[in-house]
Subunit: 389 residues, 3 copies
């Protein structure tokens, strides 16, 4: 049987087989990893006015992201306090005057407080104040809505990403909009997509389109500068000399640039911004004209969904300022390539002959950083390394 | 993590999360609940003559319901005594001279006795008498065929439902026929459908069509009259004033009334009859012109099938005495609504923030009755409250 | 609950319920049975020249069967030594100059040696010689490629099947080709297909087409001659008097006979050859004009795939020497019948009333032989007889 021991005498390696196959470990990860990090849920442009909402599904939870009467974004657990009904359907989204559970018509305010439990008014002596919707922590940074599921507070995501403030701020991300969302189902453990994202060793063989305009040398250098193993990074994908945007040909794909660049500010050579969250594998890559975010959603030990969003200036008009297929083109093909890679790696890892091999110190340091963080977060999981069956 | 403790200090509540999600508990329930109750299998009109049969699938079992040469209904385990072959395909049904296993051609009589094991006659010395098909307990009450899977006897279902004898008897249910069967797949634990069935608190928000003719006030009163926590009830759904049948508009949907009402007997104002089995969630609701039964079939911890049957007088002719769409209309939409409710509740119950909330003493007493019975039947299951993973 | 004890006081029987339903036992079987037998992977005609390859998937493994530069057939684990990628897609096949992992472009030679790990050349000090692809044992007998997954050697398959050398050799099997492959998915435990294959008690009731030309009497006699419980057999399916080939009507279906029979050698009355592997249920049945192999591939405790291949002379031309539908006809229908039998038996075995019944000493001795071997191979599995849930 393949080993379960992590042996890094000579080389840094990925993880032994059971880390990618154990259902019990996966369940623990939902709590210890996914339940204890800031997760990118969406963007303020999705809910501009009080009562606007969307839902965010992750780690068996569903949150209602709603702008409250107080003007703030609230993240409410999508679970009625009466008998646990999932109040809003994930396909829903839009505007609500009140949050109405369709099962027994319990009504909640936009800030989550219980307003009315029909017929209980007849005499059941319980206090409405005790039965508001549970609320998750939420923080908006540069227009991006982050949430976390932990009952303990986490350090501010804005403080964590302060290094990205300047370059992102110039883009005025709160004045962007999402014009395309694609969900990519993946038949692999989420950590394989995470590892994939954190090295560009595979970019030349696997992503020819991306390599048209991505500077591989600077990308590798960037990965080597990360330093200590921490979860939140100011990160970007560097452009080749002369490229203006990370696109098929290096030209911009949206006529209307973002933020201050729309007002005449000079664009620095090779401008790029973004951020990265590990090990939960969320990243944002922004250029002068467009940007993308990619979120990983774990579904089961061997299943995940990659959710890709494409951003343009809030005033950009499809067919006038950009062509949607052209906008989406590069990352759509890149995401599909990565999913296919993860799917096939998952198959190989199930082999009795799989053992983690030597990772390149120079070209795969991102994996080392993320896995060290991962191992620190999960702690001793030796009792959970069972395989299915 | 959500609690596993049942705390009813202040209120009656539904069950903690693991009761709806634990695969181990589900397996035990098949034995302790589904294996120890009378289950509605079908109706005598399906097998009028010796050799007529149908199959009934439940709790990983398949029974052959066959009218024997003795004129009685037999419930034979659909498992060949040779090597376990499932003799009759569930899609089969009809008439058999003998029960022939298609694998090796072992032949059984209509009462289950082994008649011939080909080639064993050549000399293997085993006694045919020891290898008849296993038989399950069966009882016919008012034309409804009940079975149970327990090796121990259960009290007569007829005696349990004696209170319903008079009102059901007037309808002469053995002279009805089933004219439509629909299976509704459900992605929820079976107990959520059971709880759904046992309260009408949700009827106003969730079943507008049903509420056209159902008297909510009397329904709630009926639920409050149930008293002790027992499995079999004379039960009905009361009509609003002036309604003649539980239909979209309160009018009958079949011209030919049932039983003595076809012979001129005066119909009492708001006539309704039926019965209910809890916690296995089977019910029958009959009116002067038509009736329905609904059976719940558990398939897995988070999967069940609701099987709806529609009954009319045996002499009623489609297109003349009734329109099939009109007959089926109200309960088809009502069943679909309930399935959708259970599906979404199942999602919410998986949340780490789910905890059973206060049930209404006045409007949800049926849940208390069924869950008390359920908890008594399963006994101490604290060792089974594991979650998947 | 059904018994888990094997009781053969009076009769030989099949196995108790958990042997067919336990996921834990299934996992062990992959190691103790499927990991310790010669498995039929394919045929030399699939890879005539160096660099030709195909993949063989079994028991969660994937092997690359490739003809090396040394002219020999190699069975390489399809798992990159870097991060476990499944190098060749199962749908692939054809010709390779080098074995290239598409993820990070590690390159291996056709004999499995690591030739190049891009960028590691920059300085990571690990020895290429330690990172060649793992190799499985392979042996070619009469043109049939066998592999096994055990780290310990097994006795030569050629020696095991020596009794079949003469009759197979006359056919010159290395000069055959596969002209049709069909995969038959099955929703049953693999052992039910194995038992099915090893008795012809079911042939008369279940395979009317096969019984046109198969001599049942000689088949039963052949099964009774097997003697000791061993894994590899010279085996064949005997023809009825006057039949020339095992086909729908006893006539040959290919004009061009195999091997020496094409060169005028006289065909013995009722010529048949073949071999059988138990308990892993692989068999080959060859006649003067055509042959078939059938391989069983286990996928999960209740899922398997039967892979059927049809062979003709390497020079036979479709439409001239044979009609493909006619060639495939008999075994296609026979395989489908057996799959349907196993699927329905699997359902019956899940019943709480299932218990293994008396097997016929005269007509089912093959089951006894294979199950004795199986029980010896798995050893004490009493701790693994858990059921799902």
């Amino acid at each position: 049987m393949p080993t379960t021991t992590i042996d890094r005498g000579a080389y840094f390696t990925s993880l032994p087989q059971p880390y990618y196959l154990s259902p019990s470990l996966y369940e623990e990860e939902l709590e210890l990893i996914w339940g204890r990090q800031w997760l990118l849920a969406g963007h303020v442009s999705q809910i501009p006015a009080p009562g606007d909402f969307f839902t965010f599904e992750i780690a068996r939870e569903s949150l209602i992201l709603i702008r409250g009467d107080d003007g703030e974004v609230h993240a409410l657990y999508n679970v009625c306090r009466h008998r646990g009904f999932r109040i809003c359907d994930p396909t829903q989204g839009g505007h609500m005057k009140r949050i109405l559970c369709p099962y027994h018509a319990w009504q909640y305010g936009r800030d989550g407080e219980l307003l009315h439990a029909p017929k209980h008014a007849d005499g059941d002596p319980f206090a409405y104040a005790d039965y508001g919707l549970h609320e998750a922590a939420v923080e908006v940074w540069q227009g991006f809505i982050f949430v976390h599921l932990s009952d303990d507070p986490l350090p501010s995501i804005g403080a964590e990403l302060a290094a990205a403030d300047e370059s992102m701020g110039v883009l005025q991300p709160e004045r962007m909009k999402i014009v395309k969302t694609i969900e990519y189902p993946c038949a692999a453990n989420w950590k394989l997509l995470m590892e994939n994202e954190l090295e560009c060793y595979h970019c030349a063989p696997s992503h020819p389109e991306l390599c048209n305009t991505l500077s591989l040398a600077e990308m590798h250098a960037h990965h080597n500068e990360w330093g200590p193993d921490r979860p939140y990074f100011y990160s970007w994908m560097p452009l080749k000399n002369g490229a203006k945007s990370l696109t098929m040909d290096g030209e911009t794909v949206v006529r209307k640039p973002f933020g201050e660049y729309a007002e005449g500010r000079e664009v620095p050579e090779g401008f790029a911004s973004g951020f990265l969250v590990q090990p939960t594998c969320t990243f944002a890559m922004f250029y002068v004209d467009h940007g993308i975010t990619a979120k990983l959603i774990p579904n089961a030990v061997g299943e995940a969904t990659l959710v890709g969003d494409w951003f343009v200036h809030e005033d950009a008009v499809e067919g006038v300022d950009y062509d949607l297929d052209e906008l989406v083109g590069l990352w759509d093909i890149t995401h599909r390539q990565d999913i296919e890679l993860a799917n096939r790696q998952q198959l190989g890892i199930a082999s009795r002959k799989y053992a983690p091999g030597p990772d390149s110190k120079r070209y795969e340091p991102g994996i080392e950083s993320a896995l060290n963080l991962y191992l620190e977060m999960v702690g001793d999981v030796s009792g959970l390394l069972d395989l299915p069956g």
